[in-house]
Symmetry: C2
Subunit: 307 residues, 2 copies
């Protein structure tokens, strides 16, 4: 049995939501030799100068070849290589395209991955990253000042300029995800940006998830303080709502990951340490992040084995 075509995962979210960090952990679980990751924010119609002339944001769907994104996603799903356009972030110009061959797993990361029905149809698993807004702003400021040479004021200015497009085109995509990952600050830690963050996972019944409530009810995990599973409504529809706090002991986290992976009989649990992120150039580990990355990886392997 098993699936021979590439399995396609989407990681969609606004700027600064941690897409790159999230993808890195999944690559670590599955192995770089099995994963192709592609950023689809490069399908711009206009270069930087043209955008200024037209007063259009690079994030706006009208500024992107949405039909070509759709086409390329479906090509990748059929196992075909693509000639992906390349946007040069330093010069702001459109460069010569890049040939990309899909491996077993393809991770599509970007701002507008679930914008149209045809895009959404190409994914096996759709994840939306939705950290609380103040945290996103702090993440974005940290990244853009440390890695892209902006001042905090410039980042805040840019966020203001994008707010309208973000509200109209990016955030509505949350509704189409199978999993929504929302990091947020525990009470009393209003400046935390890393290890101590909690995470909420909204698991929609659009794909079949491991049963977290069973882990808890059966006593397989008895630390309800740091992991909870409740049935809730989200955007009007029933979902599983998993909450994992930043203070979850690493060993309990490891047990949760083992229980998730046990849904894949015969597949060895990857030994690699995941949940890694960088904070002020230091590498740290977040257990909630590790669990979310492992859950995404579980789904990819599961589709590959079963569908």
């Amino acid at each position: 049995m098993g699936n021979n075509r590439p399995i396609i995962l989407g990681i969609v979210g606004d700027s600064g939501t941690g897409k790159t960090t999230f993808v890195r952990g999944i690559r670590d679980v599955l192995g770089s030799d099995r994963v192709t990751s592609i950023c689809i924010d490069d399908y711009h119609k206009y270069d930087r100068i043209q955008r200024k002339g037209k007063r259009i944001s690079a994030l706006h769907p009208d500024c992107n070849y949405v039909d070509i994104i759709e086409q390329h996603l479906h090509c990748l799903r059929r196992g075909e290589s693509i000639l992906k356009p390349v946007y040069n972030h330093s010069t702001g110009s459109l460069d010569s395209p890049e040939y990309i061959r899909p491996k077993e797993f393809v991770i599509i990361e970007g701002l507008l991955g679930y914008y149209t029905r045809r895009m959404r149809d190409a994914f096996d698993v759709k994840i939306y990253l939705d950290p609380e807004e103040r945290l996103r702003v702090d993440w974005k400021i940290a990244r853009d000042t440390q890695k892209r040479g902006y001042t905090p004021e410039q980042v805040i200015e840019s966020l203001k300029g994008r707010e309208d497009v973000s509200r109209r085109y990016i955030r509505p995509q949350r509704a189409f995800a199978d999993i929504v990952v929302s990091f947020y600050r525990p009470k009393g830690l209003e400046n935390e940006t890393g290890t101590k963050l909690n995470v909420e996972l909204i698991l929609r019944p659009t794909i079949r998830h491991p049963d977290f409530s069973r882990f808890i009810d059966s006593g397989l995990i008895n630390e309800q303080c740091c992991l909870s599973a409740t049935l809730r409504r989200d955007e009007g529809l029933p979902v599983d709502f998993i909450e994992i706090t930043g203070n979850i002991p690493r060993e309990i986290g490891r047990r949760v990951m083992k229980l998730i992976w046990d849904y894949l009989p015969g597949v060895a649990m990857p030994e690699k340490i995941i949940g890694k992120y960088h904070e002020r150039k230091k590498e740290k580990i977040s257990t909630p992040l590790a669990i979310a990355q492992l859950l995404a990886s579980y789904h990819l392997v599961n589709v590959k084995l079963r569908d």
Copy 2:
């Protein structure tokens, strides 16, 4: 009924075989607003400097993204736009890609259009241009010295360098064409390059052609001197072999074109004068060329109406 997807015509042939001139006449018949023409010689993997380093010819299939050409042909056939790579012939570099939306008819012109089965499957009508070799050399010298700034010696040198690739990859594509168009010199006119050239049309029974032999047998055309239709073998298989001499009176040529177009009841014969080409910057008319262009156009309209 009729066909709503774009109808795809191929015009394949070696360098200097008159592809661009041939396409222009079909555009004139069908109207520019209904025709998208695309040159597929731009799908290079390497720019000019890289090719020199690798000692690989731009014509060689290994130097081209053959799989992407296949993919794009099938996208166009389904009516999807493509983001076509662009090769800059002046600088020799790979530029940013170009967005192309297919109109009712798509003409694909290039060196390697019928190289793979998957490419060939995308075409509704496949034409191969195969002028006699000495004529092709003279055409290529004229074009490359007048329009591209080369000396005759440079053109001949370049032809020698391409000979091996041409023999191995380009000329074998002749076997897959529905129509082979071969201009050649009448006896005694060893330097003719234009109006007085004769043409042979090989019509393979892979598509349904108008019955030229009926035109003649029934006396609809009685000038057998300048038009003949015979049954022959070509590459071992039966074909209709049409010969039209350069001295065919224009009015007889017009009658032949009318008889071809009569196979399309209810579609008005285009009034536009076709068969145009440029010789030393002057525009001239070749009646054999006009008939060949009209036959190609007939097939496109026929597929559109009937399939």
